[in-house]
C-alpha cells in the first residue's frame, strides 16, 4: 500500500521564519505535489515535480519554493513565513509521465500556524 508521510502534523512558526515541510513517499512515484487546503477554497496546487531536481509552479507558488534532491522526497520551503500562509498543507504523489488518470495518494497533512 502506498504511503506518503509528512514529517509534522502540527507546526507553529513566527512571522519571518524560514519553514521546511518534508514529504516522503515509498512507492517509487515519479510525480509529487504540494497543495494547501483552506476553508471555502478547496485544494490549491502550490508546486509539483515530475522528476528529481525538476519543479513546476502550480497555481499559487508565490512565497514558496521546493526541493527534490531524491525521488522519494519533496520539500516545501516557506522562505519567510507570513500569517496568510497559515493553512493545512498536503503532499501527494502518483506514478507515470502521462499520469492524468493515476489517482493521487495524499499524506495526512501538516497544519501550519504562523503567528
Amino acid at each position: 500500500d502506498v504511503k506518503v508521510t509528512q514529517s509534522s502534523r502540527y507546526l507553529v512558526k513566527r512571522t519571518g521564519e524560514k519553514v521546511f515541510l518534508e514529504c516522503v513517499q515509498d512507492m517509487d512515484h515519479e510525480n509529487m505535489f504540494w497543495y494547501r487546503q483552506d476553508p471555502g477554497l478547496g485544494l490549491r496546487l502550490i508546486y509539483f515535480s515530475y522528476d528529481v531536481k525538476m519543479k513546476e509552479k502550480g497555481d499559487i507558488p508565490e512565497g514558496y519554493s521546493v526541493s527534490r534532491e531524491k525521488k522519494e522526497r519533496f520539500s516545501l520551503i516557506l522562505e519567510s513565513a507570513s500569517t496568510n500562509q497559515t493553512s493545512m498543507y498536503l503532499c501527494a504523489s502518483n506514478s507515470g509521465l502521462a499520469a492524468g488518470n493515476s489517482p493521487l495518494h495524499f499524506g495526512n497533512g501538516t497544519r501550519l500556524t504562523v503567528t
Binding site: G40, F48, E56, A98, G100, S102, P103, L104, F106, N108
Partner: protein
C-alpha cells in the same frame, strides 16, 4: 476563474437514503474526473473516477455519472451510511496534456449522514 465548482458546501441525508453530490467544470480539456473523500485530520483518499469516454462508472455503493455536454458530474452513494460522513472533493485532469497528473480540485462538499 474557478474551473471546477462544487456549488453545495454541505449536504445532510438520512442513513439508508441516497446522497447525490454535484460538480461542474468549465475547461473542455478535462477528460478524466476523480472523487476523493477526506476525513478530519487525514489526507484525501481516492474514491472513484471516470473517463470522458464513459458516462457512468460504478463501484459498489458509489456511482459517478458524467454529462459531457453539460460539463457536469455527480457522485451517487446508495445506501448512505454514517461512515460516509466526510468532505468530498471533485477533481479534474487531462490525461494527454503536458501537465498530466496535475489535478484541479473543487471546494469540497461536506456530507453528513444521520443515523
Amino acid at each position: 476563474d474557478q474551473q471546477v465548482k462544487q456549488n453545495s458546501p454541505s449536504l445532510s441525508v438520512q442513513e439508508g437514503r441516497i446522497s447525490i453530490l454535484n460538480c461542474d467544470y468549465t475547461n473542455s480539456m478535462f477528460d478524466y474526473f476523480l472523487w476523493y473523500k477526506k476525513y478530519p485530520a487525514e489526507g484525501p483518499t481516492f474514491l472513484i473516477s471516470i473517463s470522458s469516454i464513459k458516462d457512468k462508472n460504478e463501484d459498489g455503493r458509489f456511482t459517478v455519472f458524467l454529462n459531457k455536454s453539460a460539463k457536469h458530474l455527480s457522485l451517487h452513494i446508495v445506501p448512505s451510511q454514517p461512515g460516509d460522513s466526510a468532505v468530498y472533493f471533485c477533481a479534474a485532469t487531462s490525461v494527454y496534456n503536458t501537465n498530466a497528473g496535475k489535478s484541479t480540485f473543487g471546494d469540497g462538499t461536506t456530507l453528513t449522514v444521520k443515523p
